[in-house]
């Protein structure tokens, strides 16, 4: 490209910093630049254009007072001097809008928020294509860089022993959830309506009464209703309209910044979609489906577009499909299957509809999620096999920490399920909590700061295995208050801590995280996305330095994990170890779940 000679001139008593930044950008691209001092008259600028034989002139004007008159006069002078057709003239600054510039006869106008690259593109006469600061808008595979090799071979050996036991224990067992998952798959695959009806009748046999009454009598659960065909049609139009003008912001400032997920689950899939589209616009990289807690204790799924007046959006094929179809192509989508009585079917639905990720953890689901340990163990093995079949990595969340289970015990459970996942061909993602857990509230590890103990978790896991880490869920849990500034700040600081520690992904809360008297709102989601973006920008490549405590606690955690795994091996049976409290006891605050107790069947 031909080198350009560019005059940069402020039409103000003081310099606009923007001109200096553009000068630097132009010089980096090899152009010659001349920056005039401030406070020169318009006539002097015209003279300088002529004397220096420049190709392009960039004028800046920050002051708004009399802007139209002054700039109009400048164009008149340029025409009178015979240079208007020979020189490209652009105008920028706080007082400028593109429409005003065009009206006054400038070749381009650059208002607030203009990038240097935009001005350089104008000088070079090419179309401006926004850069994404090196961050591509493609779905990121957060497992891609990991080989899952164990650095702690002793722990690997213990895990292998436990996993052998789990696979042996579950080999001759099944559940109604597994049977339903297979029927659901056939319903989805079938194109014959009469066959589908027959399959639905069979499916209903394996459901509890609430779901049965839906299939047999068309009854809906209280506080739910089917969405109307008008609403479904309007949603399609709404999503098309929004997608046509979606020009998303980028949260990440550098490549090292983690992928950012938000959790949705307002109760209504259409409100969820509205929130998701808003979050995509403000830069969220991924979204997580949050289902109602009663759904985890119900045998079977409903069908159709169904809305719900309380937290958590109901899992049905149609609800999930409408959410999937609304997503931007680069948005990661996770459907959680980590607890409850429908784990295998959730993974089948997620996989068939095209989710990118799921969530499975036997220890959490059965110790804090309310599902019977034996039932969830059998279901989870089937669910992990489906996740592997559909190529969906799954995170292994450690939310039992929130019940009071110490991190080392929760991590032992997480590592067992992760190893099980690897054995079954899956791609597990470790999900340590970044939270102010009951453990640290009692023991005091966060009395000084929120950094060290969270850092210890990451150091510990890295010492054990080379695996992806996704901090959750949400980060900063129990540090946020109902004040949106404090809440957003705590989220943002935890996000930057996660980034500093080099983790792969984070789940963030909204600024309504601590507010429990009503639904989360769209602006509260934008609050924390904005705060996270600002924090990533603030820290850049600089790091947060934990104190020596972090390494000390990481070592203690690793020792604790090893001891727990040894006790599970000595016990001889993983399911029994869950009932016995080896991975989280009643004293810790964990109680083996009762939903689905005594429902495991022998394979025929």
């Amino acid at each position: 490209m031909k080198k350009k000679k560019v005059l940069l001139a402020p039409l103000d008593p003081v310099h606009d910093i923007g001109l200096k930044m553009i000068k630097r950008g132009l010089e980096q691209k090899g152009h010659d630049t001349l920056l005039m001092p401030p406070d020169h008259s318009q006539e002097e600028i015209i003279k300088s254009i002529i004397d220096n034989k420049v190709d392009v002139v960039l004028i800046s004007r920050t002051l708004g007072y009399g802007v139209a008159e002054i700039l109009g006069k400048f164009i008149d002078l340029a025409e009178a001097a015979g240079i208007r057709d020979k020189v490209k003239i652009g105008i920028g600054g706080m007082a400028i809008r593109p429409e005003l510039a065009a009206e006054l006869g400038f070749d381009a106008g650059f208002g607030p928020g203009t990038t240097v690259e935009e001005a350089v593109a104008f000088v070079e006469g090419r179309e401006y294509k926004p850069l994404e600061a090196g961050i591509s808008r493609e779905k990121k595979d957060i497992t891609a860089a990991y080989d899952y090799s164990f650095r702690n071979k002793r722990i690997e050996k213990l895990l292998d022993n436990i996993v052998d036991g789990i696979l042996d224990y579950t080999s001759d067992k099944t559940t109604t959830a597994i049977l339903r998952a297979e029927i659901r798959r056939q319903i989805i695959d079938s194109t014959d309506e009469s066959e589908k009806e027959k399959l639905r009748r069979e499916y209903a046999k394996y459901c509890d009464d609430v779901v049965k009454s839906f299939y047999e009598a068309g009854k809906y659960r209280e506080k739910t209703r089917p969405l109307t065909s008008d609403e479904v049609k309007a949603l399609g139009k709404y999503v098309d309209d929004v997608n046509s003008r979606l020009n998303p912001l980028t949260l990440q400032h550098i490549d090292k910044n983690p992928v950012v997920f938000i959790q949705y689950g307002t109760g209504c899939p259409f409100m969820d979609i509205a929130h998701i589209k808003s979050c995509e616009a403000w830069g969220a990289n991924g979204v997580i489906h949050f289902d109602p807690s009663w759904g985890a204790r119900t045998e079977g799924f409903l069908e159709g577009y169904i809305t719900h007046e309380e937290d958590g959006s109901i899992i049905t094929y149609e609800n999930l499909k409408s959410i999937k179809e609304s997503l931007a192509p680069y948005t990661l989508w996770q459907v959680r299957a980590h607890r409850g009585l429908n784990t295998p079917e959730t993974v089948v639905l997620a996989g068939k509809i095209g989710a990118d990720l799921t969530k499975i953890n036997i220890a959490y689901g059965s110790l804090s999620g309310g599902t019977d340990p034996e039932r969830l163990t059998v279901d989870a093995v089937a669910a992990i096999k489906y996740a592997a079949e559909f190529g969906m990595p799954f995170d292994v969340v450690t939310n039992e920490e929130l019940s009071g289970v110490p991190a080392f015990k929760a991590f032992a459970g997480m590592l067992i399920v992760s190893k099980l996942g690897l054995r079954l061909g899956g791609k597990p993602i470790l999900q340590p909590l970044f939270c102010y857990s009951p453990e640290v509230m009692i023991s005091g590890q966060m009395e000084d700061n929120y950094i060290d103990f969270n850092a210890a978790k990451i150091y510990c896991l890295r010492n054990i295995i080379n695996a992806p880490i996704w901090c959750g869920a949400p980060i900063g849990f129990l540090t946020q208050t109902e004040d949106r500034v404090q809440s957003s700040l705590m989220t943002a600081l935890h996000a930057s801590l996660a980034s500093s520690l080099g983790v792969d992904a984070i789940s963030i809360a909204s600024s309504d995280e601590a507010f429990s008297k009503g639904p989360i709102t769209a602006p509260s989601r934008i609050d924390t996305l904005r705060a996270t973006q600002a924090s990533f920008r603030f820290f850049g490549h600089s790091d947060i330095t934990p104190t020596e405590n972090a390494k000390k606690w990481a070592e203690e955690m690793e020792e604790g994990i090893e001891k727990v795994l040894e006790s599970v091996v000595e016990n001889g049976n993983f399911v029994d170890a869950l009932y016995q409290g080896l991975l989280g006891s009643r004293e810790d605050g964990a109680y083996p779940g009762r939903a689905g107790r005594n429902t495991v069947l022998r394979k025929s």
């Binding site: 506080k223 209703r225 008008d230 609403e231 309007a234 949603l235 139009k237 709404y238 309209d241 929004v242 307002t266 109760g267 209504c268 259409f270 409100m271 509205a274 929130h275 808003s278 809305t307 719900h308 007046e309 309380e310 208050t481 109902e482 004040d483 949106r484 309504d512 507010f515 008297k517 009503g518 639904p519 709102t521 769209a522 602006p523």
Partner: protein, 77 residues
């Protein structure tokens, strides 16, 4: 011309600083303020009284999940 409140996706938050003696009074004033503005489904999201007054964030829900959202049907969205 649609009712402008129908353009609100879910809720309107009003944030301000109320001159009052204590948190109890702040709560009462917050509700009164929102009622005066015409909101019906009101929640106090955040309230903290310190010295001369209270920092408050009060919410008036326009739509809650499960409602029929006018903005979904507005073709000019």
């Amino acid at each position: 011309m649609p009712d402008i409140l129908e353009k609100v996706m879910d809720a309107v938050d009003v944030e301000t600083y109320l001159v009052c003696k204590n948190e109890e009074e702040a709560e009462r004033f917050s509700i009164e303020l929102m009622e005066k503005l015409g909101f019906q489904d009101i929640s106090i999201v955040f309230i903290q009284h310190q010295g001369p007054g209270a920092r408050v964030r009060v919410r008036g829900y326009i739509y809650k999940p499960g409602d029929k959202y006018s903005w979904l049907f507005d073709q000019s969205n």
